[in-house]
């Protein structure tokens, strides 16, 4: 895992134009079956290198807390940081316009094929791969926790608590994210203050 570990901003690739933003987000949205996040990670972190792994996690944290779809918020922020509101608009419309046309066309044809067993099987196969992609991305991003001021014990405790609350207890995201987020923030603030020797 040597990809884009440096956090320096100098000489980092960045979107060159509004068109590049629009096209990049259109292409990644169109590849996102069963969720766009895994494709966004590959495109923005591993291919374009507009974001480091750490920045990707940071934008995702912020997007989770804010109202709106995570991936939509992430596209807005990436666009905004490059070209202001015009960049935000370019990234957002890239994410939405062409996929919207594709989706509404699919709605029109769906009824003709919905009872084929091969269609149900294909959807099941795609769902299994989508689950694997999300889990794989989580494992890759977990490597970015090295060097986190929380230290591995607190980081692991927060991670396990999140997983249990969401996947096992099925507690509402609306409470888990602000609640554990506040605890994580307070712990990190305390660790940072201690590390920097107050």
């Amino acid at each position: 895992m040597t990809d884009s570990d440096d956090s320096s901003h100098a000489g980092r690739p960045a979107p060159r134009s509004l068109t590049e933003l629009f096209v990049t987000f259109t292409l990644l949205a169109l590849q996102g079956f069963g969720g766009v996040l895994a494709v966004a990670h590959r495109s923005l972190v591993e291919q374009k290198r507009w974001l480091t792994r750490e920045e990707f996690v940071e934008l995702l944290s912020l997007s989770q807390l804010l109202p709106g779809a995570n991936i939509v918020n992430m596209s807005l922020i990436v666009g905004d940081r490059s070209f202001g509101w015009r960049g935000a608009l370019a990234a957002l419309s890239g994410m939405m316009l062409v996929p919207l046309v594709v989706m509404l066309s699919l709605v029109a044809v769906y009824n003709h094929f919905s009872d084929h067993s091969a269609v149900a099987g294909a959807l099941r196969g795609m769902a299994a791969v989508a689950a694997g992609l999300t889990l794989g991305m989580g494992l890759k991003l977990a490597a970015s926790l090295r060097g986190n001021p929380l230290g591995w014990v607190l980081a692991a405790a927060l991670g396990v608590a999140t997983f249990v609350l969401i996947a096992v207890v099925r507690a509402p995201l609306m409470w888990v994210v602000p609640g554990l987020g506040l605890i994580g923030w307070a712990l990190a603030r305390w660790r940072l203050a201690r590390r920097e020797g107050a």
């Binding site: 069963g34 895994a38 804010l66 939509v72 996929p99 196969g125 791969v129 554990l180």
Partner: protein
């Protein structure tokens, strides 16, 4: 599809404006509220229509948020799709841009740095939980358990070992599923 009355359209638009601000954790977390509004309160859509709209949006490419446009489309056609989607996007977009700019300007302060580090474990764990929640119904069906588990594990391994584009893995999954192997 229903007859379009401007008052109904305005009702739909303003309701989605409000839901946008409540959609912490993604638009899908407001789906129960949309169901209450579209199915129970107004009867613009039936249960099957509602569930199918969400299923199609999740199977199709693009952000899952687009299910909002599909709901609007089934109620009021293209105007409904536009009203629902714009309503759902506008408030959350303004809030996101304002807070992101505010935080970015203060990114070296202890408060913002603690935010970046302190939330990272939770954010990564939410991804693992999301993957697990998607995997659960597949793994719980006895006749699909082994095939699904094998496909999920293969995908994780392929992703960790090679930089293969997700689209090829999804295509392979669709093919394997269509052949009845999972």
């Amino acid at each position: 599809m229903n007859a379009l009355s401007p008052a109904d359209l305005l009702d739909l638009f303003s309701r989605f404006l409000m839901l946008s601000l409540l959609s912490v954790g993604g638009a899908i977390s407001t789906a129960p509220e949309m169901h209450r509004f579209l199915v129970e309160q107004h009867g613009w859509l039936d249960d099957v229509g509602f569930t199918t709209s969400i299923a199609i949006a999740q199977a199709a490419p693009g952000p899952n948020l687009l299910f909002v446009a599909v709901l609007g489309y089934q109620v009021f056609g293209l105007t409904g799709a536009a009203a629902a989607l714009i309503g759902m996007l506008l408030p959350s977009t303004l809030v996101t841009l304002a807070i992101s700019r505010w935080g970015h300007a203060r990114r070296d302060t202890p408060g913002v740095r603690a935010f970046v580090h302190g939330l990272a474990p939770m954010t990564i764990s939410l991804l693992m939980a999301a993957g697990t929640v998607v995997a659960m119904p597949l793994v719980q069906a006895p006749e699909h358990r082994i095939g699904s588990l094998a496909l999920i594990l293969t995908t994780v391994v392929a992703m960790l070992l090679w930089r293969v584009s997700p689209i090829w893995l999804i295509a392979a999954g669709a093919l394997i599923g269509a052949l009845g192997l999972v």
